[in-house]
Amino acid sequence: MSDPRAPGGAPPSAAGEAGPLPGAPLLEIADLRVAFASEGGVARAVDGVDLAVHGGETVGLVGESGCGKSVTALAILRLVEHPGLIAHGSRVRFEGRDLLALAERDIRAVRGNHLALIPQEPAAALNPVLTVGSQIAEVIRAHQHVTRAVAAWRAVELLTSVGIPDAEKRAGQYAHQLSGGMRQRVLIAIALACGPHLLIADEPTTALDVTIQAEILELLDGLQRRLGMAVLLITHNLALVAERTRRVYVMYAGQIVEEAPTGALFAAPAHPYTQGLMAAVPRADRPAERLAAIPGQVPPATAWPSGCRFHPRCPFAWEKCREEMPPLLPAGEGRSARCWLLAERQGPDAKTPSPQGASGGR
């Protein structure tokens, strides 16, 4: 699924032009499926995801909790644990190699090296009984042939570079001695230790205070510019996506339901789910109406609805939506959405969804 979209058209986002970048994508996911066997049946947490990230760009992956975005991140690194399984036929190409086909020691050489992850929950992702310095140093030593002393030296340098004052002293401390923002900085330092080409940031600011969030994002921005790495930003926070990304994938019930350049997406969301998400965000520039929540709940992964998975909550759903799952349909310049409305549009009395329509659907 390379990205043969027509250039131009979309309004430029905060991250710059949103047209296709030259060359093959750095990361290319095709038909990724992850299933978990549970007592309640088989949960198809990720169900046919296609996604691409080019070198140097920031791409957002947005969705509510439970939509499968974190499982997608783990699947990219092939870290889905029992009882989860990545289905045959799924492909995750990174720098030209299929990560899902690599031998264990080869994928290990990729993890934390050219492909790094900032995990959710900075409080839980650091080992409580090892000093933070040693946790940085061991990543360096796992991927580079350097002595213990050199690795320890670099660990302190990295801590300094992510804005931790008195890094020498902090390197000898444990996670519980650091504040939440400080821990997230340490995790960023660990992720950057080997100069990754792609950084997957899974809810990098969700666990942090608002004031700290801004600092961490500034830090990530600066580092990304300096190091020229690509970032896959996984979040439920639309404001974050609007500010920081170039392109966005919207995920719902294990599938990508919309894909668009960031500016275009926020100007006119094509999928009713995306419209609902945006209507649910409070805005200062609008009169204080009731916030429009999307009616209903995300269905359990063991029992996705028939047809379009959003149809039970969709204000526009009709027969076809209940019976047949829509494919990703073209929705304008460089974008697509998984919605039958786009197929209907060709007809004379096309129901064109609009943000107002989404909120009035209850």
């Binding site: 290990r108 050489a109 993890r111 790094a116 080992n127 409580p128």
Partner: protein, 323 residues
Amino acid sequence: MLTYLLRRLALALATTAAVVTITFALVHLAPGEPFVAGAEDRFVPPETVARLRERFGLDRPLGVQFARYAANLAHGDLGESFARHRPVAAVLAESLPNTLLLGATALVLSLLFGIGLGIAQATRAGTWADSALGALALACYSVPAFWLGLMLLLVFGEWLHWLPVSGMADVTLRVPMDGLRHALDVGRHLVLPALTLALVNGAAVARFHRAAMIEALGADFVRAARARGLGERRVVLRHALRSALAPAITLAGLSVPALLTGSVLVESVFGWPGMGRVAYEAIFARDYNVITAVAVVAGVLVAVGNLLADLGVAAADPRVRRA
């Protein structure tokens, strides 16, 4: 840290005082007497018994006896052994080091065995290998220690002739031995009794450590460590193991008194000249002062074991360290 140690010390003293009182009451209230006219096959004239009872103060009221014992104990005087006609302190000085050697060896072995087995099981959790190893641990834990000791004796001493069956040193080696030869000889004698204790105790450690390891292996930081490209060995032996050590260390500390004084039967089986055997013989001889002294030592060891466990946990886990 200092106030913490002082508090622990006060607690240890209180525990020991309680142990002394209860043991004293128990041994005196239990049926039987150290000096009985016509006991066993020897005839002892009643006047002699009366003289002996008077000499050791056993003719006084129990309260007076206790007050006198407590006062002597406070001065570090453990009294005299009725049966051995020697100071109790001298008896303990002979046997306690042997028991400490056996107990410490067994403790180290049981930690190695328990932690190793726990890791082996946790990394295979839910498979047939986990169940098989669990069954092995349960078997070690549930058979009586003395029976396990006898079986080991039978196999390694009697059938294979690999190891000596009894005692602490080879009495037939009359040649004056240098330090190393002597140490090797004691080491050979040490293997079987230490192994017996370690298998029983290590099985308990394994059970706790398996559970702790399974929890640690499922922790976010272990997955994060894998996401950094660390090898599985490192993930298990550094990230998971280090954070899962606390229960094993605590259990080991709590088993210190059991290993040292509870090894009565094992010491008897292997003829190990330790405190367990002294206690065993003292109980049959109604040797009150020796029994009480062993209880005092046990009380002290409980306190020491708890302290060691706390210090060990603090060393392994920085979160519980005091500022």
